[in-house]
């Protein structure tokens, strides 16, 4: 890559050397010269609207904006003099002209650019007059309050929503001094509520309603920790006072996610302080769950486990762990119950994918990082609704497509946000991801789009592989996938010749029994495209999904549930989460719990699963504890507790330690020595607390010993499910698992469950939007409100699984889709 030549210039007499293409403002920063500015922000294009950074360039009349003027060799800049100061004060006077004197009641106080600049520039009065029209304050939008009186119309919010989120919820409305920043619809906000606008607003015009009038920012202590929702591995700043979180932000300069968050990370933290938090262990006495002390509860658990062991040996006790548990806790569970009897709940498919990656590439997990995703020139999203699974990394895919000219191929059974930006779309039938990949590979090779030099140098087995592709029955595969061969050709053309392709595999691809086949084919695709080293990204919609697999949970979730249903378990330890609400095979789990003699549930809230347990143990949230997560891009992130644990709640590792003591087993290391367990598990260097934001990567992919990767054997495409209506169950961006259901903030933007139907499917069943429908599969019957979406493929419906009132997971077996019947709810 050609490096830019260095340009030398002088600013206020000081020398500066910056790359060609840099601006005077960049150079000033380098030279240590302060030039006041307000509207500039690295997330967006140079607005140049505040005109505070006006400077003088020798040889040029007048003044120019430093933020948008490129440097030139030998340029001589005056950045500070009396005239410039006068002009800067005047810009401030323009802003302050009708700005309300709200500082005493404005939450932005203490971190407000207007305050800071007024003070810095010494603006004491405003000698102008202008009439201002009616200014509205929007109190109707959820989570975000928009105060038009305080808005200085800098345009940062309009820009960030369009350029970063590709939502474009805001616009400038009107002209001249009457201009306002309004929502595109004119009504309340109806957007992703990521809060990037709140973070970027320099004044108190866009405020978090959650934080409004709660605290003064200078009173808050900042703790950097990892987010406990999805596998993006975002780093949060939990801002606390006296043991309570008041606000969550993210450090723009130091965090891995560059300060960008989603609605869950930014607003959905309130469950930690929710009054419904479980604060006391519960023991079932006489059919009812009643409060007990920790000693009583742990004794009861130990009794139950001992009884089960006596009756059936070690095989009679198993644990289902949530993928949110830190590495240390999962490891402790595995130590106590045995690795083969500890499973991560509902994640068998993901585990199978990891096994294939280990077999084929000798590597654990993803090979691509989010930075690789951003730099990709072709991205295949297979069965992944990235915007819902991992919202912040999906911004990297967006940027790659819009800023980096990357070709996006979106292959998914239902409409997703990124489909709008795709160069090619493959709406495959639910369950047909493997057949889709077979078609894609065949078309790619047919178009000679594979990287011949890479294949020759670094692989073997391609000739046989290609012969297998040639023998494929294209018509049959098209019938299975529901795809037109022209669309597959267009998708292959979009990927062909890519220099830096990335394939993202999500839950609709790594589904059920097909996960291994799909993963293998994805690896073959990346081999054909010449990039396994930085090309494979396994989407992880839990904060420690990757890490949980590394920490010694070798069991199969389906196996544990099956053993339970067959009566082979004497004790079942459900550690974390509410799998009766959320998760594959929820109905099978219900049956298993009914049969198993002794069931323990642990979680921060006593949910549906707790109600059916014999003992319930309250646990801490991510904000209250230590631990290590491994994110989807294989980074080991350290948790730092920001608030003390709720009285009565324990971290899972402590529970396991106490249980081990009672069972006469050696206690797994209780104290989380800094990164010791993580280090021993996967050799990740422990990051010292001060440098926690750096978050070490796990080891990257290495070339195999014989120097070559091998093409795999072509699997036979499975028969996808058939039915009049196939329901695809997948995440929505507002929620994550069942945990977000306990957040009152999230409830404001997505409270109600629904099932989405194509209008034709609805009409045929006499259903209209808003009607209640009966959704049934496999003996399970649920009800939900109907929504219509004409972007769906007819015959395919969509529902999110997050809601206790409509636990769609119960309709599923081992894959996130199922044939269902939908009928109007009578009465």
């Amino acid at each position: 890559m050609k490096t830019n030549p260095t340009v030398n210039l002088t600013i206020d007499g000081r020398p500066a050397a910056v790359p060609f293409g840099a601006t005077i403002l960049d150079a000033a920063r380098e030279a240590g010269v302060r030039i006041p500015h307000l509207c500039k922000h690295p997330w967006i294009h140079r607005l140049a609207s505040c005109r505070l950074c006006l400077v003088k360039v020798a040889g040029v009349d007048g003044v120019v904006a430093a933020c948008t003027t490129p440097v030139a060799e030998g340029m001589n800049v005056t950045a500070n003099d009396d005239d410039l100061l006068r002009r800067r004060r005047q810009q401030m006077q323009f802003i302050l002209l009708n700005h309300p004197l709200d500082c005493p009641v404005c939450d932005k106080g203490g971190e407000c650019k207007l305050q800071d600049l007024t003070y810095e520039l010494g603006v004491a009065d405003v000698p102008f007059r202008a009439r201002i029209g009616e200014q509205r304050i929007d109190k109707l939008s959820p989570l975000i309050e928009r105060n038009d009186e305080r808005c200085i119309r800098c345009g940062r919010c309009v820009a960030v929503c369009e350029e970063v989120q590709a939502v474009g919820a805001y616009k400038f409305a009107g002209r001249g001094y009457d201009v306002r920043i309004d929502t595109k619809t004119g009504g309340p906000l109806d957007c992703e509520f990521c809060g990037q606008c709140v973070a970027i607003c320099p004044v108190g015009a866009l405020l978090s309603k959650q934080f409004k009038h709660q605290a003064r920012v200078w009173e808050l202590t900042h703790t950097t920790t990892a987010c406990g929702y999805c596998g993006a591995g975002c780093q949060l700043e939990l801002e606390t006072r006296r043991g309570r979180i008041f606000r969550v932000e993210s450090d723009r300069k130091r965090s891995l996610n560059h300060g960008q968050l989603c609605v869950r990370g930014r607003f959905g933290w309130d469950f930690t302080h929710d009054s419904r938090r479980a604060a006391s262990p519960l023991i079932r006495r006489g059919g009812e769950l009643a409060p007990a002390t920790w000693d009583e509860a742990l004794d009861a658990v130990a009794d139950g486990v001992r009884h089960a062991l006596a009756g059936g040996g070690p095989e009679a006790v198993a644990a289902l762990a949530s993928a949110r548990l830190p590495v240390e806790d999962i490891w402790a569970l595995g130590q106590l119950f045995g690795a083969s009897r500890t499973a991560v709940a509902g994640q068998d498919a993901y585990a199978a994918a990891l096994r294939i990656v280990r077999e084929r590439l000798g590597h654990f997990g993803s090979t691509a990082t989010f930075a690789d995703l951003r730099e990709a020139d072709a991205i295949l999203l297979l069965g992944s609704d990235l915007a819902a699974e991992m919202p912040v990394p999906h911004l990297a895919a967006l940027a790659a497509s819009r800023e980096g000219d990357a070709r996006l191929v979106v292959a998914h059974p239902t409409p997703t946000k990124l489909e709008r930006f795709a160069t090619a779309r493959l709406r495959f039938r639910p369950g047909a991801a493997d057949a889709t990949l077979l078609l894609l590979l065949r078309e790619l090779v047919e178009q000679k789009g594979q990287r011949v030099d890479f294949i020759m140098k670094h692989t073997d087995g391609f000739a046989v592989f290609k012969a297998g592709l040639d023998r494929l029955d294209v018509a049959d595969l098209c019938a299975r996938t529901g795809l037109a061969v022209d669309d597959v050709r267009a998708a292959a053309a979009a990927l062909a010749g890519a220099q830096r392709p990335v394939a993202v595999l999500g839950p609709q691809a790594l589904a059920g029994a097909r996960a291994s086949a799909v993963t293998g084919l994805a690896i073959d695709l990346l081999l054909a495209l010449g990039n396994v080293e930085t090309g494979l990204l396994l989407s992880a919609d839990r904060c420690n999904l990757a890490g949980s697999m590394l920490a010694g949970a070798a069991g199969s979730s389906a196996g544990v549930i099956e053993a339970g249903m067959a009566g082979r378990l004497g004790a079942l330890f459900i550690c974390g989460g509410d799998p009766l609400v959320y998760g594959l095979g929820a109905d099978q789990l219900r049956k298993a719990m009914e049969v198993t003699g002794f069931v323990v549930a642990c979680d921060s809230f006593a949910g549906e699963t707790a109600k059916k347990a014999h003992v319930f143990l309250p646990t801490t949230t991510f904000a209250e504890r230590d631990g290590t997560y491994v994110s989807a891009e294989n980074r080991a992130l350290t948790l730092t507790p920001a608030v003390p644990p709720l009285a009565g709640a324990w971290p899972e590792c402590k529970i396991v330690g106490e249980l081990a003591k009672r069972l006469g087993k050696p206690a797994p290391a209780e104290t989380l020595a800094e990164g010791e367990i993580a280090h021993s598990l996967f050799g990740a260097a422990a990051a010292p607390r001060e440098a926690r934001h750096l978050a070490a990567f796990l080891p990257r992919l290495k070339m195999p010993a014989d120097g070559k990767f091998h093409f795999g054997e072509l699997p036979v495409a499975a028969e996808p499910p058939h039915g009049d209506l196939l329901l695809v169950v997948g995440p929505i961006f507002q929620h994550n698992g069942s945990l977000s259901g306990w957040s009152k903030a999230i409830a404001q933007v997505a409270a109600a469950p629904f099932i989405e139907l194509h209008p034709a499917d609805a009409v045929r069943r006499g259903l209209r939007a808003g009607d209640r429908a009966r959704v049934a599969a496999d003996g399970v019957e649920l009800t939900a409100a109907v929504r219509l979406n004409d972007a769906l493929t007819p015959g395919v419906a969509f529902a999110p699984p997050h809601f206790a009132a409509f636990p769609a997971g119960r309709l599923l077996r081992d894959a996130p889709y199922a044939a269902v019947t939908v009928a109007k709810q009578s009465g």
């Binding site: 505040c50 120019v64 005047q90 810009q91 009439r131 345009g155 001094y177 980096g404």
Partner: protein, 653 residues
């Protein structure tokens, strides 16, 4: 010939205050906008450079107030502080002066405030709005001072205004260039494409082949290099195409009226698109088997891939426009008389100019093998039909058709390809980029020579062409120096193929017997330049068949204008009239909006951001598109160089 009471426009001060009205005649060489709708109906004009008064009786203070209020209401986008707030403060100051309630401090504040706004503003709106008011303050100080504390109200004046940028005014179709360029900078690519589509029916096409008069009027050129306006349009339009996104435009509610459009070239397609959006049913009758006119059969695929054009036409058909291909007006059974009987409420003629002009060389009517006219050659290649072959080709002409012929020939196996042109390189009307690409591909250019006689063998096969050397004399009507032959300078160029490409004219045989539709001596249809109206009510025309062979964008612009006239005519059949917006467009077209000598106070910035070309070795034997679309990064960087030269002009009638 107008009158001037006072003018400080265009760098010239004419102050006739105190002089008798007979001495107010305007100097012949001063171009001022004296006429809005009827001759000399403008009483005052104020714009970015100053103002002029055609008579006394217009209050300069009221004029300034109206101007700044118009800036606030119509021009200021509100995004930068000095313009948004500053011009409002100044407008209110002027309002108080006009109302007689201003104090001395108000007047003292006005002048430095205006100067500061002009210095600090981000774009030309804020940079130019203060200028005429500052000039008014300089020359009419007493009038302003008299307002302070006068207690007397000066009645407001009405301004008819237009906000436009020089690039926009230079574009025949007045595309909103600064907005669509800004949208690229703001990463609103689809909005950018939709904005271009408001005035331009096929942005993916124009973004590849427009002659871009806008770039010749780009103020950025005064700083460093003009903005790549055409390629930015292509970038946004190609992005829309890449995503398979649908443009925002929709067919309007059905009016019940039917319009016939003759010719699916750029003029006809533009007219049809606008009429469909207005709700009228449109049927296009196209003589060829494919739409696009010259864009399809005149422009080779390496400049404009056929699929790009076809997609645009499909999008127009999706608006409900019906296109009947292979239906030539003038063929038996479909003549002018038959067309009149088909029940259309209006007709647009956009038949283009497809008859190639003759060389005036001896032997050109002998039908020698190897002699074919340029447009016929290109059409044959475009339609995949067999045409002349050989190793050596000579093309006569200096326009884009000539360049298209030689570059096409190279791709079809000709080894030795020449252009002969009677003037010098400087006078060649072809696109400079095309000429450079042709040179890169190995085309030989022979300037200052003209063919006089075709040479052929006994079998009637062309063997060569005899030429005369030329020399350049005085400029002719087109402004280019007239070539004259040098006596005794004959020489021969041997060749297999000779192709004249020296201009085209329309084939109007179908109009024989058509009443009231005038035909000029150059075989063009007589139609009004602004309304497109012909002498026959209900029949309109535009594009090459009216102007003679010209550019794509002019044809599009003509189609747009005709559509407006037709829409009005369908609502109420009356002689066509121009509305205020059209009058202001015409008014601004009569004065200079771009000054290549203007000194702009900015240091030189980044160079024009480029895009990739296919290398010659790759492209020379096929018709693959030579120019690649810009990268998003380059497009955004390039768009950020735009100075956003919106200015406000207003007239008092």
């Amino acid at each position: 010939m107008g009158r001037i009471y006072f003018s400080c426009w265009g760098g010239r001060l004419i102050d006739n205050r105190g002089k008798p009205a007979e001495q107010w005649a305007a100097p012949a060489d001063l171009k001022l906008p004296f006429t809005f709708k009827t001759t000399d109906d403008v009483r005052a004009f104020m714009g970015w450079d100053g103002f002029f008064l055609a008579a006394d009786g217009v209050s300069v203070v009221a004029l300034c107030r109206a101007y700044l209020e118009a800036v606030q209401r119509e021009a200021s986008c509100g995004e930068c502080f000095p313009c948004r707030v500053g011009t409002r403060i100044a407008a209110e100051l002027l309002a108080r002066l006009c109302q007689g309630v201003a104090v001395a401090g108000d007047l003292a504040q006005l002048e430095p405030l205006l100067a500061d706004i002009a210095a600090a503003s981000k774009c030309q709106v804020g940079q130019t709005a203060p200028r005429p008011v500052l000039k008014a303050l300089a020359h009419f100080r007493d009038e302003f001072a008299a307002c302070v504390g006068s207690g007397r109200a000066i009645p407001p004046v009405q301004l008819v205004t237009r906000v436009a940028a020089p690039c926009q005014e230079a574009c025949p179709a007045h595309l909103d260039i600064p907005i669509y360029v800004e949208d690229v900078k703001k990463r609103r690519y689809l909005d950018s494409s939709d904005t271009a589509r408001l005035n331009c029916v096929m942005p993916t096409v124009l973004g590849r082949v427009c002659v871009r008069p806008c770039e010749a009027h780009c103020r950025r050129a005064n700083v460093d290099e003009p903005i790549h306006i055409k390629y930015l349009k292509r970038f946004a339009a190609d992005y829309e195409k890449r995503l398979g996104a649908r443009p925002l435009r929709r067919a309007g509610a059905r009016s019940g009226k039917r319009v016939a459009v003759i010719g699916a070239g750029p003029a006809g397609l533009a007219c049809a698109e606008k009429l469909a959006q207005a709700g009228h049913a449109v049927v296009i009758f196209e003589a060829l088997a494919e739409g696009g006119g010259m864009a399809a059969v005149g422009i080779p695929d390496y400049r404009l891939p056929r699929e790009v054009l076809r997609r645009e036409i499909r999008l127009i058909e999706e608006l409900g426009v019906e296109i009947k291909y292979s239906t030539r007006l003038g063929d038996p059974g479909f003549g002018w008389a038959e067309l009149q009987q088909m029940g259309f409420d209006a007709i647009f003629l956009g038949v283009g100019a497809h008859n190639s002009n003759k060389l005036g060389a001896e032997g050109e009517d002998q039908a020698y093998k190897g002699f074919v006219h340029g447009v016929a050659y290109l059409r044959a290649v475009a339609e995949g039909r067999e045409t002349v072959g050989g190793k050596k080709m000579v093309v006569v002409g200096g326009g884009n058709v000539a360049i298209d012929c030689v570059r096409t020939a190279l791709r079809l196996g000709f080894d030795d390809v020449h252009i002969i042109y009677r003037r010098s390189r400087k006078e060649m009307p072809a696109d400079a980029v095309e000429i450079a690409d042709a040179e890169e591909e190995g085309v030989h250019f022979n300037f200052l020579c003209n063919p006089t006689r075709l040479l052929a063998d006994a079998a009637g096969r062309l063997t060569g062409v005899e030429c005369l050397r030329m020399e350049l004399g005085e400029p002719d009507a087109s402004g280019r120096r007239r070539p004259s032959p040098k006596a005794g300078s004959e020489f021969t160029i041997p060749t297999d193929v000779l192709i004249p490409a020296i201009g085209q004219s329309p084939n109007l045989a179908f109009l024989q017997g058509a009443d009231k539709i005038g035909v000029s001596k150059w075989s063009t249809i007589v139609a009004d330049g602004c309304t497109g109206a012909t002498g026959l009510p209900g029949v309109f025309s535009g594009g090459d068949c009216v102007t003679g062979a010209a550019t794509l964008i002019e044809a599009v612009a003509a189609g747009n204008r005709a559509a407006i006239s037709i829409d009005r005519y369908l609502l109420c059949p009356a002689p066509p009239e121009l509305d205020d917006r059209q009058c202001m467009e015409r008014l601004l077209a009569s004065i200079k909006t771009y000054d290549p000598q203007e000194k702009i106070a900015l240091p030189k910035g980044l160079p024009r951001q480029g895009f990739a070309h296919l290398p010659v070795a790759t492209r020379i034997r096929n018709f693959d598109e030579v120019e690649m679309v810009m990268s998003a990064k380059n497009a955004e960087t390039e768009a950020a160089r735009c100075l956003r030269c919106f200015r406000l002009a207003g007239v008092v009638l």
